[in-house]
């Protein structure tokens, strides 16, 4: 094959290879990773060898760049960059899309069963300090940055907070919260809502939509304290020997019709103006968070690589997970 692309399963059209071949005559080979972390580990240990294009969340794209594993985006070869919302071209971790191209984006908030939760939750504290009826019926994301973000947002801190004293406060809050938690879960939380095992869960907006698809009573809300802005990006690896083809692939993805596939099928917003505008209105009626405007989204803070403060985060998360 001409290109080896690693992405999350189901993140691209199943026939993407045929489509791309029809469009460019180039062969691609799509492989899947389950998590950012594992593919990052693999890229770092091997220097990225073997892969041409990978899909990772923004902090990981930042690391790839920091480790000089990411190839600069050849703007001339990707004319479809013009389809992006302007808001998506000035993102703090990579202003001007020099080494990464955003693929999907969204917020993190609360996903809940409106028929089981009294009133409308509107604060992170509804999750972290639940009323008695919700005790043992909440879940939080297990991935360390999002786990910490919930506490930081509740406290009104930055989601990239580095001040040790503030981090201590967050830790204390999260350890307390653990006592009322059913589980940490970042894969099946929405089905726990469907079954009724959980009533209120910490969720990425897009995954809440999978729950909404099964049960109309499920709703998503971004708490009043705000959210983070998560972005899954496309990165070309420096070690790639098929950079031209890689750029062609990015350009192909950014084609409005192709990019719209992601919104329609994975129920994530895509930062592609042309694509979003092509969507059927019914989609945002069924899944209200699909209608969130880029201007609103970029009010939220991006998760950034923490550099050496990562040590403090990981220790704190270990301590939270070890608490009882």
């Amino acid at each position: 094959a001409d290109l080896v692309i690693s992405n999350w399963d189901g993140y691209m059209a199943p026939d993407i290879a045929e489509q791309f071949k029809a469009a460019t005559g180039l062969e691609i080979e799509v492989v899947n990773h389950a998590t950012n972390e594992e593919v990052m580990g693999k890229l770092m240990a091997s220097g990225g060898k073997g892969y041409d294009v990978v899909f990772v969340s923004s902090p990981f794209a930042e690391i790839l760049n920091g480790q000089a594993l990411a190839e600069p985006i050849d703007k001339a070869a990707v004319p479809n960059l013009a389809n992006l919302y302007p808001e998506a071209t000035t993102l703090a971790y990579d202003p001007g899309n020099t080494f990464s191209v955003p693929y999907t984006w969204g917020s993190t908030g609360l996903c809940y069963r409106s028929d089981l939760v009294e009133g409308t939750p509107d604060s992170w504290l509804n999750l972290l300090q639940p009323v008695d009826a919700l005790k043992g019926k909440t879940t939080m994301l297990a991935t360390d940055r999002w786990l910490m973000a919930a506490g930081e947002l509740a406290k009104g801190f930055s989601v990239n907070e580095k001040d040790p004293a503030r981090l201590e406060e967050v830790k204390a809050l999260l350890i307390e919260a653990k006592k009322t938690l059913l589980a940490y879960d970042d894969t099946t939380f929405y089905s726990k809502l469907v079954s009724g095992e959980a009533s209120l869960v910490h969720a990425w907006d897009g995954w809440c939509n999978y729950g909404i698809g099964e049960n109309k009573d499920i709703k998503f809300v971004v708490p009043k304290e705000g959210s983070d802005l998560w972005i899954d990006t496309i990165v070309v690896l420096k070690s790639s020997e098929k950079k031209d083809a890689a750029m062609k692939f990015i350009n192909f993805i950014l084609d409005a019709r192709n990019h719209a596939w992601a919104a329609q099928n994975i129920l994530y917003k895509v930062p592609n103006k042309a694509a979003m505008e092509s969507l059927d209105k019914a989609l945002s009626e069924q899944y209200p968070n699909m209608a969130m405007a880029p201007a609103d989204l970029i009010k939220y803070e991006l998760l950034r690589d923490l550099g050496t403060a990562q040590k403090d985060y990981s220790r704190i998360v270990s301590e939270i997970k070890a608490a009882n």
């Binding site: 080896v4 492989v31 091997s46 073997g50 894969t187 099946t188 469907v194």
Partner: protein
């Protein structure tokens, strides 16, 4: 035998209970593979659609094939090396803590350390990675498990039959094949089953040492990437087929064996 010494009943009850425990989740898994709904939590009617979906999913089928190839090679190599290592360790006159530590190490090294180490090592050597590098890596821990099982058996082994074989003119090699091996066979089979099972189910090391391409994806890699949204009945269907085919193959081979032995 005296009835008081070997009543068959307690043994049967134990087997019933233990196999009940082993197959309880399997029954659920098989049931879910016929669930029309994609969610494991609700039963929405019998359907074979996931089997249909599976059979047209060439990725999964190839992954299953790869897993089988890796497991077979890793099992064969590790069973040979592990058995020999066990024999070597148990026939040594002086126990060596270094050797013991070496044989324990693959079991206690965290998977991720071994995975990162192997990938780093292979890429520094400039090796092309693929199924062969997964096999190399799986043999490491498989052989430790085989060695451990066989060694346990060797602790109270009567080596005089080995001597008798040598005395009758058999070389070390012939003795191994004609005497040691058949007598150790139950343990070797146990070790091999263990190695195969570990290899079939191993994810992180395979993921790291598989190289980048699609051609060397194994089933656990495939399934891990698929469960982003939780398990779909499609993988349940796959597991059902894997177990069903294995059981059928065994029963057929057993039947053929018996046919051969009767006349």
């Amino acid at each position: 035998m005296n009835a008081t010494l070997s009543s068959k009943l307690p043994g049967r009850i134990v087997l019933l209970l233990v196999f009940g425990f082993l197959y309880l989740p399997i029954a659920v898994l098989v049931l879910l593979s016929f669930n029309d709904s994609g969610l494991p939590t609700s039963w929405s009617g019998f359907s074979t659609r996931w089997y249909g979906a599976l059979l047209s999913n060439t990725d999964i089928l190839r992954a299953a094939g790869n897993t089988f190839i890796v497991a077979v090679f890793a099992t064969v190599i590790s069973t040979v090396l592990g058995t020999l290592l066990a024999l070597g360790m148990e026939t040594r006159r002086r126990k060596s803590s270094g050797l013991e530590a070496l044989a324990f190490a693959p079991m206690v090294i965290p998977d991720i350390v071994l995975a990162v180490a192997l990938l780093t090592f292979f890429s520094r050597l400039g090796l092309t990675m693929g199924l062969h590098t997964i096999v190399i890596s799986h043999v490491i821990f498989d052989l430790a498990f085989v060695c451990s099982v066989v060694r346990a058996r060797l602790k109270h082994f009567d080596f005089s039959i080995v001597e008798a074989s040598r005395d009758l003119g058999a070389s070390g090699w012939t003795t191994f094949w004609r005497v040691t091996f058949p007598v150790l066979l139950p343990s070797i089979v146990a070790g091999a089953l263990l190695a195969f099972t570990l290899s079939v189910d191993e994810f992180i090391i395979a993921f790291f040492t598989a190289g980048a391409g699609r051609s060397s994806i194994t089933l656990p890699m495939q399934i891990y990437s698929m469960i982003r949204f939780g398990i779909t009945p499609e993988v349940n269907a796959l597991a059902t087929i894997v177990m069903g085919v294995s059981a059928t193959a065994l029963l057929i081979s057993q039947w053929l064996n018996r046919q051969q032995q009767v006349p």
